[in-house]
């Protein structure tokens, strides 16, 4: 019977620090994410040369071309695959480590 062992482990974890953490929304106090983390897109409009490669590889229709031969992003559709950042020849698109994308303002999710 291993009840005793289970009991011992349960009691031991009772007096230890729990492994779960509170969700903190203050920047700097959040659980750190790794360097390669793929978060919210950032776009450098000046660096963009309008090759539209990103439009063709985006799997979820985030990116659309604008009239002045640049692109615009609808971040609410983004699945964070990072393919656009990878294919961009000028590194105009990057993925930040910001993981909180939710907003109350839908227009805030359009990136130009």
């Amino acid at each position: 019977m291993k009840f005793g062992k289970m009991l011992r482990d349960a009691l031991r974890s009772l007096f230890r620090k729990p492994v779960t953490v509170e969700y903190l929304t203050k920047p700097g106090r959040m659980v750190p994410v790794s360097e390669r983390f793929r978060g919210r897109l950032t776009y450098d409009r000046d660096a963009c040369i309008g090759c539209l490669l990103c439009v063709r590889v985006c799997p979820s229709g985030v990116i659309a071309s604008t009239e002045d031969m640049k692109v615009a992003f609808n971040i609410s559709r983004c699945i964070l695959c990072g393919q656009c950042a990878e294919i961009c020849p000028k590194e105009a698109i990057k993925l930040s480590t910001q993981f909180e994308i939710i907003t109350g303002n839908k227009n805030g999710l359009i990136l130009k």
């Binding site: 009840f3 289970m6 009991l7 349960a10 009691l11 974890s13 009772l14 230890r16 729990p18 492994v19 779960t20 953490v21 509170e22």
Partner: protein
């Protein structure tokens, strides 16, 4: 303290203490699983939320029974707990004895079962039949254990006399004689099943039959059902602590003078009992099947309770 005043004050006291107990149980359970867990007053938040929700009655339900049963369940368990608590609080004899408390506890769970069955949900029907078998398994040893108190050294069934007997012998009942020790052990073994926690949460196993007879309850009805459960769990632990493990009796007559102190000692003991019989089992065991649970209860607690009654008749 006047008996009537004690009885009336014990109603809110029972509610607050039993919900606090539930909160403590959930917190400790979470910490044993390496989680932070909910705040201790989470049960109060839950109740406030549930009481503010809309009432939903399934179309298949027979409305009256479905509506009224949670109220009966909550009322019965609160009444049972108050009788027990006011006896401890006032130290005076009043209405009701141990049999009444046990009866009210059983009635509270039967009312919930019937109300659930009235919802017409097939899962509730399975839960009902499972709870039925479980009640047969644990109620019989529990009743025998309580009756053996009447046959044993105290030879009474009113709560205040049992308390006074313990004070006069200056010993908790469970350590005073062999028969009472085995009766106390029987009750302790029956608490997990009566509180229906893992490993004996078979009637409301959430991964199997989705909380069984509670499945269709929501909003205020669920809040009442939750109160009924929390209060009857508290009553069970308090019952063992007052009747069998009345630690203040070690103080002798002091215990009857400083009733506040003896009550808090009793509550502390029942908290410990809750930790040992509700929190720990539900942390370290997996759920049993109905046949296995039945076998367990008819093997060990029933044998122990019969032993206790035989011993008390002989006079050990």
């Amino acid at each position: 303290m006047d008996a009537a005043v004690a009885f009336i004050t014990s109603f809110p006291l029972v509610l607050v203490v039993s919900l606090l107990f539930e909160g403590i149980d959930r917190k400790i359970h979470a910490r044993m699983q390496k989680r932070i867990g909910p705040p201790i007053i989470q049960p109060f938040y839950d109740l406030i939320k549930l009481f503010n929700k809309e009432r939903i009655i399934p179309v298949t339900a027979s409305t009256r029974v479905f509506e009224i049963m949670p109220m009966i369940a909550a009322a019965a368990s609160i009444l049972g707990a108050s009788i027990l608590l006011s006896n401890t609080l006032s130290g005076l004899g009043m209405i009701g004895d141990l049999i009444l408390v046990m009866y009210l506890l059983a009635m509270s769970s039967i009312a919930l079962m019937v109300g659930g069955l009235a919802s017409g949900n097939p899962y509730a029907a399975i839960g009902f039949s499972r709870k039925m078998s479980m009640m047969i398994a644990y109620e019989i040893p529990m009743f025998i254990a309580i009756i053996s108190v009447a046959f044993g050294p105290p030879a009474v069934l009113t709560i205040d006399r049992v308390i006074k007997f313990q004070i006069s012998t200056r010993l908790p009942l469970a350590v005073s004689s062999l028969s009472m020790a085995s009766a106390a052990a029987t009750l302790l073994l029956c608490i997990p099943a009566a509180a229906s926690v893992v490993p004996f949460d078979i009637p409301e196993a959430k991964t199997e039959i989705i909380y069984g007879f509670l499945i269709e309850y929501g909003g205020p009805y669920l809040a009442l059902a939750k109160i009924a459960k929390a209060v009857s769990n508290f009553t069970l632990t308090l019952l063992v602590s007052v009747v069998f493990l009345y630690i203040p009796s070690l103080l002798g007559e002091e215990a009857l003078i400083n009733l506040g102190i003896s009550l808090s000692i009793c509550l502390a003991v029942s908290l410990l009992i809750m930790f040992a019989t509700i929190t720990v089992p539900r942390t370290i065991f997996a759920r049993l099947k109905i046949g296995q649970a039945f076998k367990f209860y008819w093997m060990l607690p029933l044998a122990l309770s019969i032993l206790s009654i035989i011993l008390s008749v002989i006079g050990l």
